[in-house]
Every structure is written in structure tokens, then in C-alpha cells.
Amino acid sequence: MFEARIKKQLGSDGAHPFNMDVDIKGGGGITVLFGSSGAGKTSVLRAVAGILTPDQGRISLGGRIYFDSSTGTCLPIQERRIGYVFQNHLLFPHFTVEHNILYGIRDHSRATARQRVRELLSMLGIGKTARRYPRDLSGGEQQRVALARALASDPSIMLLDEPLSAVDVATRSRLLEEISVIQERSGIPFLYVTHNHSEAVRLGDAMYVLDEGRIVQTGTPLEIFNSPRSAPVARVVGTENIFVGNIIEHRIDDGTTVVDIGACRVQVSYCDLPAGGRITVGIRSEDIILSRECLTQTSARNVLKGIVRRIILETDKAELVVSCGVDFKVSITPATIRILDLKVGTEIYMLIKARAVHLLA
């Protein structure tokens, strides 16, 4: 349905040059491009839109070729029929909301065009803003107008570049729902760039993780977040604890493998590598359970004794650094600190399921 193979040397004049080399295939749903800033996500969207010309590759949508370096095809920006929602909205400041949306409507009579604007505005619940200027709108309203404007052009594909980064949490949640409904109704593919986990999980039918211009893992968002396959992916999706270790032994009877990660050992799900081999493992900081007592009868395969080294307190969460020879980051609620009476120097046990220790290639 939608296909983009893009090779491009990026930032050759800047401080951080890197080669973009991606191959993305999207179905009819929402495809998420996930990655930290500077990973090249926006460049992918810009190449699809025609703002950025790849050095090599092919971009096509439903049989229509936008770009093909082998035949020298490069469709001009204005002929690609793209709906683009920019990170900073880019609503035209000298147009009213109505005028902004009208601007994108192609080949319609004036009356039908105005009718379409009214439909879009009421669908997004911003009918009252029609005669206002963008500067008089709230962040959420601006975002809705940007969505309406992109949809107004009757696009063949929607490109959304971190569209919700500038709105508050409550608005974000509502808009996520609306975006997913809009996608289902319109039936056109959406390419959605984000570095926010909840957006990716709630919207993504498929997800590509980008790092330094390359795709490092593909799958559904949940699959990737629950089991990142390599250290770069783990870093990008936010696995805070990454260790390089040696495989000590395989315990065939309970299906686990023991890995030495320096000063301590962890049991992980069985892996098909010879003993003595090196392996990278990742543990998400929220997958670690803390206990003041040493639990012996527990389903957690790993019970590690450590000492609280550092407590980083934020308003709604806290992060501990627990050392048992190597440092673990543990994410808990501020209430837990009070209930367990945690201080720097407190002895503590960490409980980690074998399944929560991800094997990273």
C-alpha cells in the first residue's frame, strides 16, 4: 500500500552527520515512527512529502510513484496529495480558522468548500472558532485546526509529526482518541512520528524504531516496548538498565539461563547461546519490585540484595539507584519511599522476574 525506501546523507554540513537508510512499508492503518530526537523521523516525513529529496530510493503510495531514483521520477510537492500536521501547527497567522482550512481544499465550488469546512470543524468540536485567528486559540484548538486543515485537502496519506507534543495531558488523551477515529473513518494510511510511549501504544498498528537514521526494530508497539531486541532499541524505547554480561549456564529444567553481569548474576529466559558467550540484557526500571525483607518463596527468579545509593524525587514519580555491585535504576512512586522508609544507605531486595530481563542482541 505505502512504501518508502530512502537513502540520504544528512547533515553533511552540520555537526552531526549521519546516513539515513530506511525501508518502511505501511498498511492502511497507523504506522508509528518511534525514536529519540535527531533519529531522522522527521526527515522520513519530509522525504515522503517531497521537501527533502533522497539520494537514492523509491517512495510510492497505492501504485502512485512519488519518487524513484532509478527512473529519475520526483513528483513536485504540490502534486503529492499529502496531509501534513506539523509539530508547531504552522497555521497561517493572517488567515482565520475557516480561511486556513479553505486554503487546503482542492477543486470545489465555494459553497461545497464552506460546507466541508463546517463538517470538519464540527467533527473536531471546534465549530465556534471558525472566525477566529490562530493566535487567539488554545494549544488544543490549534492542534485540531491543524488536523482539520490537513484533512481538508482530501489527502492520500496523512503525515503527523509529533502533533501532540505541545498540548496538555488531558487534551492529548482526547486527541489521541479522535485521531484514531479519524483514521478509521478516512481509511487512508497515517504515518505518525512520536517519541511518546503512550501515543505509540494507543495509535500504532505497526511501529518502526529509528536510531541514527536506521530502523533498528519493527513490530507492534507493545511487542517492541515489552521485548526490545537490541541495546539501541532498549535505549530508544527507554529501558534504563542495560548490562553486558557472560552466560554462565543453562538451567534446562526451569527454562532459564544464568548471566553474570559483573558483580551479580541474574536468571533470564532460556537463550540459545553457548555458555561463556557475551550477551546484553536490559531491565526496565518499572519492572523491578522492592522489598525490605528477603523473600524466599516467590515467583520472581531474581532476588538481589542491594543498597540504596541515590533517591531522585520528582512530583509524581521517584527513581532510585540501587547498588548490588552494579547500579540498577528503579522507578517507584513517592509514596513507596515513605511506606518502605527508604533512605540513602537502606538495605533493600530487588525482585525481578526472569521474563522481565530482556535479551538484547
Binding site: A49, I51, I77, Q78, E79, R80, R81, I82, Y84, F86, N88, L90, F92, P93, H94, Y103, G104, R106, Y133, R135, D136, R149, S153
Partner: protein, 220 residues
């Protein structure tokens, strides 16, 4: 006589300002948005009339447009007509002298428009031309207007190049600044004063009206 001079001056400056607005905006856009070899040289050449003494610019204009000039020569041979010592020459002199101000203002005004707006417009299916007229131009409006007013004021006061190319023929090429010079030189003090006052009054009015018109709308 004063009114005739004023009428001629306003006609010359009016046409010059229109030409300056169009040519200056076009060059401003090219300098702001296009990248090509020799752009710096073009920029320098276009700035020259602002740096050189107007008499020198006028002298070059004679070399180019005069009866035996680079372009003026062939034109004279062909038609028997030459632009020197006509009111059109006064228009050309005023246009060339004030153009750099407009180009500089237009370039700055257009550069201040975020190119992402233009990209957004292109993505919405608009051509480069439509994008220029409906997005870039309106967003650069205030800076362009300021440039036009500055150029108008400069063209209105133009003396040196006009004298060189158009001469000082009362009723035909004598604009306000030239008339003031002649009045002072021939001791007609009262006439000089009235001319100077009228010129000052018009300049102040134009600048004042423009600053009122371009005042930002109250926003929430």
C-alpha cells in the same frame, strides 16, 4: 509655478515608487530565497547606488542611457528619441537611487517569513506563485510597506542623479529638490521656503499615515 513643480515631482515619485515596489520586492525575494553563484556580487551591485554619490550614479546612467550610451545609443539611432532631459529620466534616476533601500527592506521582510509556512502551502497543493502571493507576500507585508515608504522618501528628495540624467528644465524635469536649489541660488528666499515646507509636509504625512496603517492589530 510651485504647483506645477509639485505636480511633476509627485508624478515622478509616484511612478518611481511603483517601479521600486515591484522591482525591489522581486530582487528581495531572489536574494532571500534563492541560492546561486554570484549572489553576493549581485547583492553588491544592487547596493552600489546607495553607497556611491548620486552624481556618480547619474554619470553611469548617462553612460548607459545617454544619446551615445551603451543602450541609449542604439535606441537613439533606431528611433531618434533619447531619454535624457525628459521626465522619464527623472523617474529612472529616482528609481535607481532609491531601489537599494527597497531591496534591503524586502529581503529582510521576506527572510523573516518562516519558510515552513511556504512549505505548508506547497503541501496543500499550491504552486510556488500562488504561495508567494497568498502566503509570503501578506506575511512580509509590514516590512515591504516600510521599505516602500523609505524608498518614497528617498526618491522624493532625489537630487544629484536627477540633475545629471534629466537636467533642470522648469516644467519638464525640475522636481522639488531641484527647484529649491534653484530658488536659493537665485535668491528667491520665499519661494525656497514654501517649496521646502511643502516637501517636508508631504514626507511627514506619508510616514505618519503609513505608521498608523501598519500598526499591529490588537490581539488577545
Amino acid at each position: 509655478m510651485i504647483w506645477q513643480t509639485l505636480r511633476l515631482s509627485l508624478l515622478v515619485v509616484g511612478i518611481a515608487t511603483i517601479l521600486i515596489g515591484l522591482i525591489g520586492t522581486a530582487f528581495g525575494y531572489i536574494l532571500a530565497r534563492c541560492n546561486f553563484r554570484g549572489k553576493d556580487i549581485l547583492d553588491a551591485v544592487l547596493t552600489l547606488p546607495m553607497i556611491l554619490p548620486p552624481t556618480v550614479t547619474g554619470y553611469y546612467l548617462i553612460l548607459i542611457l545617454g544619446r551615445r550610451g551603451l543602450l541609449g545609443g542604439p535606441l537613439y539611432d533606431l528611433t531618434g528619441w533619447t531619454v535624457t532631459f525628459t521626465w522619464a529620466a527623472a523617474v529612472i534616476a529616482a528609481t535607481v537611487i532609491a531601489l537599494p533601500l527597497m531591496i534591503k527592506s524586502a529581503r529582510a521582510a521576506i527572510e523573516s517569513v518562516d519558510t515552513e509556512y511556504e512549505i505548508a502551502s506547497r503541501i496543500m497543493g499550491k504552486s510556488e506563485w500562488e504561495t508567494f502571493f497568498r502566503i509570503t507576500l501578506p506575511l512580509a507585508k509590514r516590512g515591504l510597506l516600510a521599505g516602500i515608504v523609505l524608498s518614497f522618501a528617498r526618491a522624493f528628495g532625489e537630487f544629484g542623479a536627477t540633475l545629471m540624467l534629466a537636467g533642470n528644465i522648469p516644467g519638464r524635469t525640475q522636481t522639488m529638490p531641484l527647484a529649491i536649489y534653484e530658488a536659493v541660488a537665485s535668491g528667491e528666499d520665499e519661494r525656497a521656503m514654501w517649496l521646502a515646507l511643502i516637501l517636508t509636509g508631504i514626507s511627514i504625512t506619508v510616514v505618519y499615515l503609513t505608521s498608523r496603517l501598519s500598526r499591529p492589530r490588537k490581539s488577545a
